[in-house]
Assembly symmetry: C2
Homo-oligomer: 221 residues x 2
């Protein structure tokens, strides 16, 4: 089993500080939902995010990258074969458990609606199946509870490792930052080896895709 | 150079037959664009597509999959290294040439707006750079003009090949169907070997990702 944790992920509902913002009020009317039940989406609210969170505005509110990421992960061959486990830990210490059999909406707007429902209800069901569920857990607790085998933390300034040396066992866990700029907020210093696979910035789905490719090569797919 | 062609891609503006449809008229008002300048998007217009194109309704209007696909391709390591060439041939024989340096919008709505502009203007520029350009060309002509090295056609019922045997040279071309169901519309029978890498249906970005992984392994990345 390959286990992937996306840590400090920039996936959250609109924080209370922003609820009285004009753009938020407008969006809330348009979407007919309370601000606290709407996703923070930088492509819709980047000016407001700049105003309220100047120090973290470059990274906040990125459901778009999780839409692409989860589509890449859940349609991968190792996921179809039942060898992939995916957890998304958010900046607010909410851990999202992704059912490998969940068909991720290819339409972004549907995906965003689903994430809003998930934050509101704590889980998403389809009949008897739980598609997504959440619990309150720090990054470290999440990795300790659900990680399996050796833990490797992907870190742009980590020790360089070639992709094909990333995976050394059938049971292995990788931690990837769930953000597009900056560093981990959670303290991961005692969690595992820190490695990098490339000398330039990569998107989170590229990093995850490289790990998946390494795993597939390792298991002889 | 790895060259990828997505053939018979379900990427098009709203066809003339549908312009008087009620849902299309409404969308056109809301978006303040003529129907012919709007993308056909099955997540917005699936009932109308069903009504006007019953025989192809399952596959028509899928800009969403190209949003995910191009994000996967253009952020891949081999693309950053300048070793990837991407062409999208549509069901209407429009060939879209993707500049490898184009940053694909992570927001779907921005991507869709860009594709609408592309179909309207024939190209998208940013300063002196051409981000996307189009020409009128059949699939075969496209592959003959821009393919490089041996051509392999990905085909679900093709001969099974293990991923790591897909790439046999530094210069190679792969053809992938740009649709989620059905078969190629273009006649590709004389184009090259038809192969399959997995016995179940895969998304186009999974197929492309596997080819990229095979290429990276081949060139020793």
């Amino acid at each position: 089993m390959l286990t992937l944790f996306f840590v400090d992920s920039e996936l959250e509902t609109i924080p209370e500080e922003m609820w009285k913002d004009d753009a938020v009020t407008q969006l809330s009317k348009k979407r007919k939902k309370k601000p606290g039940n709407l996703l923070l989406d930088s492509s819709l609210l980047h000016r407001s995010i700049d105003a309220y969170f100047p120090s973290s505005s470059k990274r906040r509110g990125r459901p778009d990258i999780f839409h692409i990421l989860l589509n890449v992960l859940n349609s991968s061959i190792i996921n179809i074969l039942g060898e992939l486990s995916v957890f998304i830990h958010t900046r607010n210490d909410i851990l999202i458990k992704v059912n490998p059999e969940t068909r991720i909406p290819k339409s972004y707007n549907r995906f965003a609606g689903l994430m809003e429902q998930l934050f509101e209800l704590g889980e998403i069901r389809s009949g008897e199946d739980v598609l997504f569920s959440t619990e309150k857990k720090s990054a470290i607790e999440s990795i300790k509870s659900y990680g399996s085998g050796k833990v490797t933390v992907m870190w742009p300034s980590g020790e360089h490792v070639s992709r094909n040396n990333l995976v050394e066992a059938r049971d292995q866990t990788f931690v990837i930052g769930g953000f597009t700029s900056g560093d981990y907020i959670s303290d991961l210093s005692h969690i595992g080896r820190r490695v990098s696979i490339f000398d330039q910035e990569l998107t989170i789905w590229t990093v995850a895709g490289e790990i998946i490719a390494a795993y597939e090569t390792y298991v002889g797919l």
